[in-house]
């Protein structure tokens, strides 16, 4: 119970500080918008091309935006050594990770849901009929990005060349999430939309495995 009580308090802090500064949300929304608009005007894709290449482009932009969002996650805890204050205060250090990855997933999901209608208009794809299924794919994919991303953010915050370290560690590891999310999204944007349970299962499995690993070893990532 203490774990969830602490997580709730910390999640409240993450949301409060972000909605005050809007630092992460603004950066990611602008980044995704630039990519989606730029590719749309450069290639002027047909409906068929949009269905083939759109999901990959969408998830690539989500992935790079996420690496921008995840970078300051633990870095800003170092400014005033607030991470030490958190470690002294919480009952279970996993609550620090749980709150941060929940906030990261929420911010990422919010950005993605905001960007979907713009993507649909620019690439002429129909998303409204499959919107709930699409949100499920986005949720599992975002969680798959946020769990290892939060863990690696804790590692890279303590490392030299920290700005380079996070994408170097994260992007190769997230390749399977990128493939699974893209395939699941492609299925939903196809002429005959279908929810690809195999890829959804893969995403859910990836999330469970990495969340368990974080729960088991997360404490060591927070040590000085």
């Amino acid at each position: 119970m203490a774990l969830f009580a602490n997580t709730t308090v910390l999640l409240g802090k993450e949301l409060r500080t972000e909605f005050r500064s809007r630092e992460l949300l603004t950066t990611t929304v602008v980044f995704i918008l630039v990519i989606v608009v730029l590719f749309s005007f450069t290639f002027d894709p047909s409906v068929g091309e949009s269905r083939r290449f759109g999901p990959g482009l969408l998830w690539l932009s989500f992935l790079f935006a996420a690496s921008l969002m995840l970078q300051p996650c633990f870095l800003r805890e170092q400014n005033n050594d607030t991470l030490s204050a958190l470690r002294l205060s919480v009952v279970d250090p996993f609550s620090i990770f749980l709150a941060k990855l929940s906030a990261n997933t929420l911010f990422l999901l919010l950005t993605e849901v905001l960007m979907l209608p713009i993507f649909a208009i620019l690439y002429n794809v129909h998303i409204f009929a499959v919107f709930p299924q699409l949100v499920l794919v986005l949720f599992l994919g975002s969680l798959g990005v946020a769990i290892p991303g939060t863990a690696f953010s804790a590692i890279s915050a303590q490392a030299r060349m920290r700005e380079l370290m996070l994408p170097l560690l994260l992007l190769p590891l997230l390749t399977p999430v990128l493939i699974a999310s893209t395939e699941a999204t492609s299925g939903l944007l196809a002429e005959n939309p279908a929810l690809r349970i195999d890829w959804l299962g893969f995403l859910a499995g990836f999330d469970i495995v990495f969340l368990t690993a974080l729960w088991l070893f997360g404490e060591y990532l927070l040590e000085e």
């Binding site: 203490a2 009580a5 602490n6 308090v9 910390l10 409240g12 802090k13 409060r16 500080t17 005050r20 500064s21 400014n79 005033n80 050594d81 607030t82 030490s84 204050a85 958190l86 470690r87 002294l88 205060s89 919480v90 009952v91 040590e223 000085e224």
Partner: protein, 247 residues
């Protein structure tokens, strides 16, 4: 400071070593600090004071040795009941308060939001009431709704001290607590620490030179290159340790 019930707790450092690669920050430091003692650590920059305090706070894992928190410890008569002895285990029942070089509070939150959040994390009863009381004690009641980023260094330090006292600690660890405080702030801190020391709380603090705060110490320890080179409870020798060149 508000008086309340706490468990008198000492600290025992046993052969503590801390290495960063090939560099020794601490070399086999052994110290017994009795419950209620007020220990001032002196020494040059890099002598190991901060590392020792961070190890005591369980924030840094020692490379060798252990820290334990005997529930009571009275000179030669040591009671081992309730002893917690583990590299990074929080001492059960014995709350720690830690004031570091950095303020350890969030600039983007108000003073009150910071204290209420940390009080909630620590499971403090009535976090709002506790935060309000401490903000009043540190003289920041009128600025409780102001963002910490708008505070001066001295005001931030007061919030940092209030945060360290939220859980009513039986052991208080202070790393150069007078940093940024004006003379009035130093007098306030000295008075607050005197009350806590007199109430039987154990205080470990790192200091540079003599001050109103160092005068509270009942014991002085000088560290040099990670080793304890002097340790005394005698007044004249304490003066010598605290005024040692470079201390």
């Amino acid at each position: 400071m508000t008086a309340s019930a706490f468990i008198p707790t000492g600290i025992r450092f046993e052969k503590i070593e801390k290495r960063y690669g090939g560099l020794y920050a601490l070399r086999r430091v052994s110290l017994d600090v009795a419950a209620g003692e007020c220990v001032a650590f002196a020494g040059r920059n890099g002598s190991g004071k901060t590392t020792l305090l961070r190890i005591a706070a369980q924030l840094v894992r020692p490379s060798a040795g252990s820290v334990s928190f005997p529930a009571t410890m009275d000179g030669d008569h040591q009671q081992e009941d309730g002893d917690i002895k583990s590299p990074l285990q929080r001492p059960a029942g014995a709350a720690l308060g830690f004031v570091a070089h950095a303020t350890m509070v969030y600039d983007e939150l108000t003073a009150e939001e910071n204290l209420v959040m940390f009080a909630r994390l620590q499971g403090t009863a009535e976090p709002g009431v506790r935060a309000a009381r401490l903000l009043e004690e540190v003289g920041l009641s009128e600025r409780r709704h102001s963002m910490v980023r708008t505070f001066s260094r001295g005001m931030r330090q007061r919030v940092a001290i209030a945060r360290a006292l939220l859980n009513d600690p039986s052991v208080l660890l202070l790393d150069e607590p007078a940093t940024g405080l004006d003379p009035e702030g130093i007098s306030w801190l000295a008075n607050a620490l005197r009350q806590m020391r007199d109430a039987g709380r154990t205080i470990l603090m790192s200091l540079h030179g003599e001050s109103e705060i160092s005068a509270l110490a009942t014991r002085a320890v000088r560290l040099d290159a990670g080793s304890v080179v002097a340790d005394t409870r005698a007044g004249s020798e304490m003066h010598a340790i605290l005024t040692f060149a470079g201390a």
